[in-house]
């Protein structure tokens, strides 16, 4: 259903070259083209160093130095979950989650209410007064997710959000993320280098070539949800993706 919905972001001929002392350095992305559709779960996958995270930052508007165009539907609200959590160490869990609302000038009553809702959603109840240092990796990423979700985003960007976690925690968080996505139906753009993660989560997978990254293929993943990770169809799609990623090298 989501794979047929309207594009809300279009990426056209996007290239990115890092400048070194004002001179053109290495090109990390070259002529990238694809679109992102409303309410879909889209994964960007490719070999290490192919520019996936760089592209995510271009999409999120954190880096505006590139060639080509990124067209966004007007009024799109975006949010981002970081690979290494990027929590503010001096703030408590509650303050971290409410940071964006506070910066946007929301009143304290609303902030408190929204923070409590998101903490419940991601299973952080009772941890509100803790500081990030006092939390496990999985709990930190739950805070990162709640901080992003509290902004009620239309598009949630996620930069390898499970890669800093152990396998069991990552599996639990993936399941929770899917539940949240199915409840809220925001668009998710996830960067990963793990083929199984892409097959488990996404509606479409954009496969990138090795540096300079360019779109090799966009694969529609129409396996029924909830996905059965030990089914033949799952393995077949995972193998196909893996071959694409590996041959890109």
């Amino acid at each position: 259903m989501t794979t047929n919905s309207e594009p809300i972001i279009t990426v056209q001929n996007v290239s990115k070259t890092f400048q070194i002392y004002g001179r053109a350095g290495e090109t990390v992305l070259s002529e990238v083209n694809f679109d992102i559709r409303r309410s879909e779960f889209l994964t960007l996958i490719g070999p290490s160093g192919c520019g996936k995270s760089t592209l995510l930052r271009l999409l999120a508007g954190l880096d505006r130095k590139f060639t080509g165009t990124i067209t966004r539907s007007p009024g799109l609200k975006i949010s981002l979950v970081f690979q290494n959590f990027a929590l503010f160490s001096w703030l408590t869990v509650e303050e971290n989650i409410g940071f964006g609302l506070r910066m946007n000038g929301q009143n304290e009553g609303l902030i408190k209410k929204r923070v409590a809702e998101e903490m419940k959603l991601v299973g952080l109840e009772g941890f509100g007064n803790k500081h990030p240092k006092e939390l496990s990796g999985g709990m930190k990423q739950r805070v990162g997710l709640a901080r992003a979700m509290v902004m009620d985003p239309d598009v949630l960007y996620m930069d390898e959000p499970f890669s800093a976690l152990d396998a069991f925690t990552a599996k639990t968080l993936r399941a929770d993320l899917l539940k949240i996505w199915q409840q809220r139906r925001m668009t998710i753009v996830l960067v990963t280098h793990l083929v199984d993660e892409a097959v488990e989560l996404s509606d479409r997978v954009v496969v990138f070539s090795a540096r300079p990254g360019t779109v090799k293929e966009v694969i529609v993943n129409d396996l029924p949800r909830p996905r059965q990770l030990r089914e033949q169809k799952f393995y077949t799609l995972a193998d196909r993706l893996e071959n694409l990623v590996v041959t890109n090298n």
């Binding site: 954190l62 949010s79 690979q83 290494n84 990027a86 503010f88 001096w90 990030p132 939390l135």
Partner: protein, 252 residues
């Protein structure tokens, strides 16, 4: 569940007990130092009014110079690191300037600002204290994590809100570290500065008079007294601030 709750309670009790013990030890330390100080002032024939008046005057000078150094150092550090091109040009200049000996400015300032001894001391003292603060902040800015910057941007921290809610709290441990070093250098400096400029009240002036009068025992008592007072300022003011600032650091 009950087991977990029991563990949680016992851990909390342990933390509270450790905190109470820490506070008690700190209190005993301070009480002991205070006692030594009082005994020293009472028994040594040191004119404790002059000594304490001198210390208060020097403390006021050091505090004013510190506030000036902190504000100027912070503004300079944030300005210099705002853009790579500005940093490339100005950072080496500041690096050269910091190696310039502040005492060398005294003849120039005394000639130019004759009769304004307080201004001369404050200006040179602030100049001496500014460098550790400035370079500590510059180092922290250069080493800060890009992801944190990006998180602040994504969640809408701009302008003064960014400064108050992100930049300053993030840099707070570095500001404190630089401040502690700057404060220490300031106290080293002010003794000499008060002697050179010949002010009438100040701990440097008072110790200088004792030295000139060859009152060696009293001079030794005065120096020990000064050390104890500075130790108490560190223990009561700077160290708690530093402990609080670094308590939640390095989380992720």
């Amino acid at each position: 569940m009950r087991f977990a709750a029991g563990l949680h309670t016992s851990r909390r009790h342990h933390v509270l007990k450790t905190k109470r013990l820490g506070s008690l030890i700190a209190f005993v330390w301070l009480a002991a130092i205070l006692l030594i100080l009082v005994l020293l002032l009472r028994t040594s024939q040191l004119d404790y009014r002059q000594f304490l008046d001198g210390f208060a005057a020097s403390l006021a000078r050091t505090s004013v110079a510190y506030v000036v150094a902190l504000i100027v150092g912070l503004i300079l550090a944030l300005s210099v690191t705002a853009q790579p091109i500005i940093e490339t040009i100005f950072l080496p200049i500041l690096d050269v300037l910091q190696s310039f000996p502040s005492f060398a400015l005294f003849p120039v300032l005394i000639a130019g600002l004759a009769g304004h001894s307080e201004t001369i001391i404050l200006a040179v003292l602030a100049l001496e204290m500014i460098w550790p603060i400035l370079f500590s902040i510059v180092g922290a800015v250069k080493n800060r994590r890009q992801e944190l910057e990006e998180a602040a941007t994504i969640f809408g921290a701009v302008g003064t809100k960014r400064l108050w809610h992100f930049a300053l709290p993030e840099l707070w441990p570095a500001i404190l570290t630089g401040s502690i070093v700057g404060w220490g250098e300031g106290w080293e400096f002010i003794i000499g500065a008060e002697l050179l400029v010949r002010v009438h009240v100040g701990i440097g002036h008072y110790l200088g008079v004792l030295g000139e009068n060859n009152q060696r025992n009293l001079l030794a008592f005065g120096i020990v007294g000064l050390m104890l007072l500075l130790f108490m300022i560190n223990k009561l003011f700077w160290l708690p601030l530093l402990r609080q600032a670094t308590a939640y650091q390095n989380d992720n």
